[in-house]
C-alpha cells in the first residue's frame, strides 16, 4: 500500500525539523559545558535527552492523528512535540528557560505542555500513561471524540503503572494507544537484560487490547499501524499497544558517550533520516533539489526559533512564586 505523496513528504519534513532542532540544541547545549561538564551550566541547562534516531515514531504516529487527539509523553519528547506541531519558538524558549516559553520557563525540556495541541510530557517513567487514559476516559464521559496516546520507551514497560493502566484501558475499552518506542535501551541496560519477553506488544492480549509490533523504524509502516489503531479506538474496539522498533543514536542524555552500544548491539543503529530521504528520491517523490530546498527552508525556520529563544527575556525572578495554585 502506497501512501499519498503529501503525507510522505510531510513526514520527511517533520523528521528533518525534529533532527535539525535537536542538532541546534546539541550545539547550544555544549556552550560553557567544557572543559568541565555540568548539567546546570550554559545557556541550555539541565538534562537533555535528544531524539536522534527516533524521528520516524513522532512523524509516523502524529501524521495519522486528528486535532482532537491527545498526547502524553516522557522524558524524551522532542520528536513527538515537533511532529504534533507544538510551537517551535515557544518550545525553544521553554528549553532556554525564557519567559516566552510554553510554561514561562517553569517546565523545561522534560515537562513540555501545549494545551492548544493537546500535548503534555512527564519526566517520570511510564507515569504519563495514567493521565492519558484519564483524558480518554474524560472524552468518553463527555461523549466527545478523541483518542489518547501515551508514548513511552521499552524500558518503561517494566514500571507498575504500565500494567495498572493497560488493565484499566482493556477493562473500559478506552480509546487509547500505548506507543512503545523500542530503542532497546533503558539508560544503559539493554532490553535483553531487563525484559522477560521479546515483544511488549505481545502483552496486549492479556489486557484485552490489540498488540502490533512495527519493525524497521519506518515512518510509513508506523503511520499505517497508527491508522489501524485509531480506527479500532474510534469504533469502540478499545486500545492498542503499538510497539515500534526504533533506534537511539545518542546516549541516554547529553554527556553520555554510549560506549556500551557496541558489537552486534550497534548493528541496527542506522540513521533513519538519510534513509527516508534517499527512499523518497528513489521513489520519485522528491528530487535531490527539492529535498535540499526542504532542508534549507526548515533549517532557517529552526534557526529562527533558536534565535528567538536566545534573544528572549528571562522571566522575572518573582515568577517562581506564581502558578502553584489556580
Amino acid at each position: 500500500m502506497s501512501l499519498p505523496t503529501s503525507i510522505r513528504r510531510s513526514m520527511f519534513e517533520t523528521m528533518v525539523r525534529s533532527r535539525f532542532w535537536d542538532d541546534r540544541l546539541t550545539t547550544q547545549y555544549w556552550i560553557d559545558k567544557t572543559p568541565v561538564f555540568a548539567f546546570g551550566a550554559g545557556p541550555l541547562p539541565g538534562e537533555l535527552h535528544t531524539s536522534h534516531g527516533q524521528e520516524p515514531v513522532g512523524a509516523g504516529v502524529c501524521a495519522a492523528l486528528s486535532d482532537e487527539d491527545m498526547i502524553t509523553t516522557g522524558h524524551r519528547p522532542h520528536h513527538i512535540a515537533v511532529a504534533r506541531g507544538v510551537d517551535l519558538r515557544e518550545m525553544s524558549a521553554e528549553l532556554f528557560g525564557k519567559k516566552a516559553g510554553l510554561s514561562g520557563g517553569r517546565g523545561g525540556h522534560m515537562h513540555l505542555y501545549d494545551k492548544r495541541v493537546n500535548f503534555s510530557s512527564s519526566g517520570i517513567i511510564a507515569e504519563g500513561l495514567g493521565p492519558a487514559a484519564g483524558m480518554a476516559f474524560a472524552r468518553k464521559m463527555q461523549k466527545k471524540s478523541g483518542v489518547a496516546l501515551s508514548f513511552l520507551g521499552d524500558g518503561a514497560v517494566n514500571q507498575g503503572a504500565f500494567h495498572e493502566v493497560m488493565n484499566i484501558v482493556g477493562l473500559h475499552k478506552l480509546p487509547f494507544i500505548c506507543v512503545i518506542e523500542d530503542n532497546k535501551w533503558a539508560v544503559t541496560t539493554h532490553k535483553s537484560m531487563s525484559t522477560a519477553c521479546e515483544r511488549n506488544s505481545d502483552r496486549a492480549e492479556n489486557y484485552g487490547m490489540t498488540g502490533e509490533f512495527v519493525e524497521g523504524n519506518d515512518p510509513e509502516l508506523i503511520y499505517l499501524a497508527t491508522q489501524r489503531a485509531l480506527e479500532r479506538a474510534r469504533s469502540g474496539e478499545g486500545g492498542t499497544i503499538l510497539e515500534i522498533e526504533t533506534v537511539r543514536l545518542s546516549g541516554h542524555f547529553m554527556g553520555d558517550p554510549a560506549g556500551y552500544i557496541t558489537g552486534e548491539k550497534s548493528d541496527y543503529q542506522v540513521d533513519p533520516v538519510p534513509v527516508y530521504r534517499a527512499r523518497l528520491i528513489d521513489d520519485g517523490i522528491l528530487t535531490e533539489q527539492e529535498a535540499s530546498d526542504i532542508e534549507r527552508v526548515i533549517g532557517a525556520e529552526v534557526d529562527e526559533a533558536i534565535t528567538f529563544a536566545l534573544d528572549a527575556d528571562y522571566p522575572d525572578a518573582n515568577d517562581a512564586l506564581n502558578c502553584t495554585f489556580a
Partner: protein
C-alpha cells in the same frame, strides 16, 4: 436518593426541619451528592464505591442514583487510576476519588505529587487539575503501623495541593462543597475515629453537628475556635481536636481556661488565626496525631515564632506520635497517641513554666 435508613445515632429527619444532626461521613456524602446532581463534570472513582458506597459511605447510594458511568469502581491500581483522575481533570472533568486509607499513598505518591500537584505549575497554568482525593486517617483501634497513620504532613509538605481535615459534620459538608468547586487538587482527610464510620464503634459526640439540608461552603484557610479560653491555646488536627476538648474540660476543673482551636485546613494554613489566639493566651500546645518531627506541630510553632518570638510566656509544647511506627497492642498504641491525658500534661507544663 439513598433508601438507606438513618443510622441509630442520626436524628430522625422530618420534612419541617432544615437541619439534622449528622456524622462527618453522612455530611460529606450529601455534598458529593449535591455537586454530582448540579455539575455533570463531577464524578466519583475509587475502590468499592459503586455498589458498596466506599469504605466511609461517601458514595452510599450514589452508584444507584447516578449509575456506573459516574460512580466508577476501580481495580486495586491506585497509581493507575489516580493518574487517570489527574488526566480527566486536565480534560475538564472534576473527579472525586477515594483512597480508603491514607497509608496507601505509598503506592500512588507519584501520581499525587508529581502529576496532580505539579501539572498546573509545570504547564505555566495551561492545565488545571480540579480534583478531590478523599482518604481516612488515624489510629486508636489496633490496626497497627500500616493502617493507622495520619500522614497529613507528608502531603501538606508538597507544593500544589491543598490539604484539609474537618473534624465535625457541619465543616465536613461545607468543606466538601468548597473542595469540589475548587479549581485545584484538594486532599480531603478525615480521621476515621471522628468520621462516624460504622467500624469505629461509639461516636465522638463533638464530631456530630446540625447540618443544613441546603448546600453551603466552609472556606479553607480559617481555623475554627471550638472553645474560647484565656490561659493556653490548644491547637489540634483531626481527632486530637476532640481529645483537646476533653482536656479543656479537665483543665477547667483545675481553674485553667483553655482555648481549643481546630486547625482544619493545613494548606492553606491560617497562621494569622493561630497567632491571634496565642497572642491572647501566651501559651501553645499543638496536638497532632501525625509523627512528631518535621510535621504540622513544628510548622505551627515556627509560624508563631517567626512572627513574634516574644509572644510565648512559656515554651510551646507538642503532643504527637513520638517518631515511632504505630504499634498494634492496645497499651502500646494508647501510650503514643495524643490523648487527653498527654494534652492536659502538656498544657500544665506551659502553665507551670511561667
Amino acid at each position: 436518593m439513598s433508601t438507606k435508613e438513618a443510622a441509630p445515632w442520626e436524628s430522625p429527619t422530618s420534612g419541617e426541619s432544615s437541619s439534622r444532626s449528622l456524622t462527618i461521613c453522612r455530611a460529606q456524602r450529601e455534598a458529593v451528592d449535591w455537586e454530582m446532581e448540579h455539575d455533570e463534570r463531577v464524578f466519583m472513582m475509587g475502590e468499592d464505591v459503586a455498589g458498596f458506597g466506599g469504605v466511609f459511605g461517601t458514595a452510599d447510594g450514589l452508584g444507584d442514583k447516578f449509575g456506573s458511568d459516574r460512580v466508577i469502581d476501580m481495580p486495586i491500581s491506585e497509581t493507575g487510576w489516580i493518574g487517570m483522575a489527574a488526566g480527566a481533570a486536565m480534560e475538564g472533568m472534576r473527579p472525586i476519588i477515594e483512597l480508603a486509607y491514607v497509608d496507601f499513598i505509598g503506592v500512588c505518591y507519584n501520581a499525587i505529587v508529581n502529576h496532580a500537584a505539579k501539572t498546573y505549575f509545570m504547564s505555566g497554568g495551561q492545565f488545571k487539575v480540579p480534583m478531590v482525593l478523599i482518604s481516612g486517617t488515624g489510629a486508636g483501634y489496633s490496626n497497627a503501623a500500616q493502617h493507622s497513620q495520619c500522614l497529613h504532613a507528608t502531603l501538606a509538605h508538597m507544593p500544589g495541593l491543598k490539604v484539609v481535615s474537618p473534624t465535625n459534620a457541619y465543616d465536613a459538608k461545607g468543606m466538601m462543597h468548597t473542595a469540589i468547586r475548587d479549581d485545584n487538587f484538594v486532599v480531603f482527610l478525615v480521621h476515621k475515629g471522628a468520621s462516624g464510620v460504622g467500624f469505629m464503634g461509639p461516636l465522638v459526640k463533638t464530631s456530630l453537628s446540625d447540618v443544613p439540608q441546603e448546600d453551603y461552603t466552609v472556606p479553607f484557610g480559617k481555623i475554627k475556635v471550638y472553645r474560647e479560653g484565656t490561659d493556653v491555646t490548644i491547637a489540634g488536627v483531626g481527632l486530637a481536636v476532640h481529645q483537646a476538648l476533653q482536656s479543656a474540660d479537665s483543665l477547667a476543673k483545675m481553674g485553667i481556661s483553655a482555648e481549643v482551636v481546630d486547625i482544619r485546613s493545613l494548606v492553606p494554613l491560617d497562621r494569622e488565626g493561630i497567632i491571634e489566639s496565642v497572642a491572647k493566651t501566651g501559651r501553645l500546645v499543638v496536638a497532632d496525631e501525625d509523627y512528631h518531627s518535621y510535621g504540622v506541630s513544628g510548622e505551627v510553632i515556627a509560624s508563631v515564632i517567626e512572627r513574634d518570638a516574644t509572644i510565648f510566656k512559656a515554651p510551646p509544647q507538642r503532643v504527637c506520635i513520638p517518631d515511632v511506627s504505630i504499634p498494634f497492642s492496645r497499651p502500646l498504641e494508647y501510650s503514643i497517641l495524643p490523648l487527653e491525658e498527654r494534652i492536659t500534661s502538656a498544657a500544665l507544663k506551659t502553665i507551670e513554666n511561667v
